[in-house]
Subunit: 337 residues, 2 copies
């Protein structure tokens, strides 16, 4: 049974949505939750009969969203630091944090440590497509802002391992995000990455932004600057379209009435594209599972983040990443002989 350390204090809305998410997850899945934070604040949120498979780990400090990530290493009493240490000391198998994402990344990278062959752990996220149930993995969506080709190449290998081991796609199609599908397109880093990836078996070439959503590719590789922008752009556009639809419907009384009969269709739309359905983004390339959730996560998002952590912990992804990177390093070494 995977043991999951959860920073119960770090989210924007305090411990309540996080604890509620844990309780929802415990009803549906087998795992042990270690809630890290101020027990006096956390315990009252849990009904007595729900205490099975929950333990508490005290932490007197909370790392604030407004602080600099670089300070996180010094704040040894913070809930995120202590949750990370539980994983580092093998007292937990996975970390789930809705706290400061920069702090979570720094701590996971520096305290839990990188896998062999990984230069920079990327954040991966699942994006919805027009094909129900089919998701596209995009990485990096924010951890590494200036990337060289070697980093993007490693992201591709890590994304491939995620698609194989967690999404159970046998031959995942790996695409490199660029400003055109043609082989010659890209900025300098992307063009150099293309040359490195073109001999890997699952690489399908450059892909464009619209392919995130059309189910034509399983893994999309980009740097963390571009990935963050496309994620925020997508979230912003989806929410704007929702607002425009509502406004346009309200402009007509007839449409307002008719819309009642469409509630289910719109609800499904929300479920089809809702972030809460995935709940968190794994930081790949660190020695243990780390799931980073939005600060504003709902209980449902936290529940799904925990499900991701369970799947990750029960998988072989990290061994696959290390083996793949080692093999490519060997190949590269031979080619250069």
């Amino acid at each position: 049974m995977p043991r999951i350390a959860i920073d119960a204090m770090g989210g924007d809305f305090g411990p309540e949505p996080i604890v509620n998410g844990v309780l929802q997850a415990l009803k549906q899945a087998e795992f042990h939750a270690i809630l890290v934070g101020d027990e006096d604040k956390i315990r009252p949120l849990i009904p007595k009969k729900a205490l099975k498979n929950i333990s508490f780990e005290p932490a007197s400090d909370v790392f604030d969203m407004a602080e600099q990530a670089t300070e996180a290493l010094k704040r040894k009493q913070s809930s995120i630091y202590i949750a990370t240490e539980l994983v580092r000391e093998n007292k937990a198998d996975a970390l789930v944090s809705a706290g400061h994402s920069g702090a979570t990344m720094s701590l996971a990278t520096l305290r839990i440590g990188r896998l062999n062959g990984v230069s920079r752990p990327p954040i991966a996220t699942l994006m919805p497509t027009t094909k129900r149930g089919k998701l596209t993995l995009v990485l990096d969506v924010g951890a590494n802002v200036d990337c060289k080709a070697e980093h993007l190449f490693e992201f591709a290998i890590m994304g491939e391992a995620y698609a194989k081991e967690i999404l159970h796609i046998n031959k995942p199609r790996i695409g490199l995000l660029s400003n055109g599908e043609e082989d010659c397109k890209g900025n300098e880093a992307v063009k150099a990455t293309f040359s490195m990836l073109k001999s890997t078996p699952n690489f399908i070439g450059n892909v464009e932004g619209n392919q995130i959503f059309d189910a034509s590719v399983d893994v999309i590789v980009c740097d963390g600057f571009v990935g963050n922008i496309l994620l925020k752009t997508s979230e912003g556009l989806a929410s704007s379209i929702g607002k425009i639809i509502k406004r346009n419907i309200k402009e007509s009384a007839l449409a307002t009435i008719a819309a009642v009969f469409l509630k289910r269709a719109f609800k499904r739309l929300k479920a089809d594209i809702d972030y809460d359905e995935y709940g968190g983004a794994p930081l790949l390339g660190v020695k243990k599972c780390t799931i980073i959730s939005h600060g504003k996560s709902s209980p449902k998002a936290i529940k799904n983040a925990i499900f991701q952590a369970i799947k990750f912990s029960n998988s072989n992804i990290n061994a696959v990443i290390e083996n793949s990177l080692e093999e490519y390093a060997k190949l590269n070494f031979q080619e250069n002989q």
Copy 2:
């Protein structure tokens, strides 16, 4: 009356949608259209009584979408080359092209020439927001893939001039697209651009992807690699949401019936976010107006591209760009003394 040279042959669907767009535009606006291409193919598409304010300029060759932009300079009989030459020779005031966008850019930049102080002309595009009628200008969306801070700075100045002179916004809010709003966020080029822009009066700082759509900023600056990706991502997501809504409605007979009463609301949504409403993207920083349209442009898109060309030709934008760049260059020179 502005004289507009239109590449009648370059679009993906041949001359028909382009000529129809010109005819629609002529019904609503005062301009003279110079249709460049194979007169035998173009003239039959025009009713005799509509020939007023249309002239023809023969071109025996068409530059194909699959060709390399670098070849465009050699293809002196192509419709896009000849249309550009009309502008260069002052026989036309503006160029509208739905042909090969790389070729259009190269020819406009090299044959019509850059404004004083402009290193690299960017493509600017208008994006819809949740506030009806309010648009956000985003630049560069594809002309310049690897940009230095000086280039991004110039884009900001050109975008500001566009917002003032064409959109008639007195004090346009200029934002720098980044992976976070905080001053410290950005990749190396963005951080360096931030330092250059921070003393300019209308700069509001870093903005995030979602701010494209929320009407909180008038001009958003990014490099052409990021801009192309965010444009394609937005187009892809908007079309995917449309498909998902349709699918979800079809899953219920009741919803299918009710949806009939929502047709107008959805039609307005389409109008609110539809590319055809803007029709083309100006290439800023060249000596004459150049509007680049999609290869797949509908007649409506071409019509709106022509309206953009008219507004541009009737404005002072190019003088404002040259003056602003000159003043900032002087300031910079003084600071460095």
